[in-house]
């Protein structure tokens, strides 16, 4: 195993909070910074990473054939057409769920680690075998959640499970942040969530319609050099991961209208 490869699990507990979108955008952003990055779709039941990256038509082999030794790793890897530092290892047939073991996952990941600087593992939702297999091969983790009560609770479950393994560091990404709702105290604030989960914050991602547009096209926001709010956020997460000291965007400074300022005044803590 290449000694310096970072193997990062991207997980959440609750489904649909943005794991795959983060994996795709982070993968592209890291590759753009010149580090060789592999993204591994470990959501064998409901794979989607290929679609978000726009690579669904270029899949020939998958992780399954690599494990069965009917193809070599580089035959299964799908290089991104516009970002040559990024490669996807697609998930195989959903029947893989029946036989895949933590050992298999570790084998795949250590093969990837020989060739890449980063391996990002897109984890399935839940805390069952799919999650446990994916986690068994990881060195560090990014837990992603939204500022919603059920997502935070499930994130807490996952953090509890990760803490029982030797996965370090575990960092938090808070997704779908809506500054206006936070200002009017109708959404958990960034501090609320970091207080409750007690994890270092790797970044926050603003709620952004462009995420959906980019998914439609199969072109992650970070690929197209978009200036949209979420694109900026994903870029910042990638740079912090690389050790750059980028200040967090302050959601309370996102709205500059008089009305937003009044909302902020109303949300100031007095005692």
């Amino acid at each position: 195993m290449a000694p310096n490869t970072r193997i990062i699990l991207i997980c959440s507990g609750k489904g649909g909070v943005g794991k795959t979108t983060l994996t795709a955008n982070l993968g592209i952003a890291l590759a753009q910074q010149g580090v060789k990055t592999a993204v591994l779709d470990a959501d064998f039941g409901l794979r989607n990473l290929d679609l978000l990256l726009g690579l669904e038509n270029r899949i020939v082999y998958t992780a399954q054939e690599v494990l069965e030794e009917t193809c070599r790793l580089d035959q299964a890897l799908v290089k991104h057409k516009r970002e040559s530092n990024l490669a996807l290892l697609p998930a195989g047939n959903p029947r893989m769920l029946d036989w895949l073991k933590p050992d298999d996952m570790q084998r795949i990941v250590s093969m990837l680690a020989e060739k890449f600087d980063y391996v990002l593992i897109d984890c399935p939702a839940g805390v069952e075998d799919g999650f446990k297999n994916a986690a068994s091969a990881a060195q560090e983790a990014i837990v992603i959640t939204t500022p919603e009560i059920s997502a935070v609770r499930d994130a807490d479950r996952v953090i509890g499970l990760l803490n029982t393994k030797s996965i370090k560091p575990i960092q938090l990404v808070l997704n779908r942040v809506r500054p206006k709702m936070i200002a009017s105290q109708e959404m958990l604030s960034v501090n609320d969530v970091t207080d409750i989960l007690a994890l270092p914050l790797l970044g926050l991602v603003l709620e952004d319609e462009q995420v959906i547009v980019s998914t439609n096209r199969g072109e992650p926001l970070t690929l197209t050099g978009s200036k949209s709010p979420a694109a900026r956020c994903y870029g910042n997460v990638a740079r912090r991961l690389q050790g750059e000291d980028i200040p967090l965007i302050d959601p309370s400074k996102e709205g500059q209208s008089l009305r937003d300022k009044f909302r902020r005044l109303m949300a100031t803590k007095i005692f």
């Binding site: 919603e148 609770r153 105290q185 007690a198 109303m266 100031t268």
Partner: protein, 92 residues
């Protein structure tokens, strides 16, 4: 307490939903993290009250044993108002 909370109190409106969410989360996570079922917690509560009642007279109805959590540390917190101290502890 924020300006909005004060204003809401004055005009008798509910507290903001973010605060409600935070309080509910803290409570539910204290239970999730300790992995204690409500029945076990209740049984423990009754046993603790019985032990304490051997030494001091407490208000059995007011006595509360609850879980609180901060920084991923869960604490068992007992709040037992003492009515008076018994001169001679009850021992079997």
């Amino acid at each position: 307490m924020t300006l909005r909370d004060i204003l809401n109190k004055l005009i008798g409106r509910q507290q903001s939903s973010a605060n409600t969410a935070k309080e509910r989360l803290q409570l539910v996570l204290a239970h999730d993290r300790s992995d204690l079922s409500p029945e076990l917690l209740d049984q423990m509560r009754r046993e603790i009250l019985n032990v304490v009642a051997k030494y001091v007279e407490i208000d059995m109805d007011e006595g509360a044993v609850s879980l609180e959590t901060e920084d991923r540390m869960t604490a068992l917190v007992a709040n037992l108002p003492i009515k008076r101290t018994l001169k001679t502890p009850i021992t079997e």
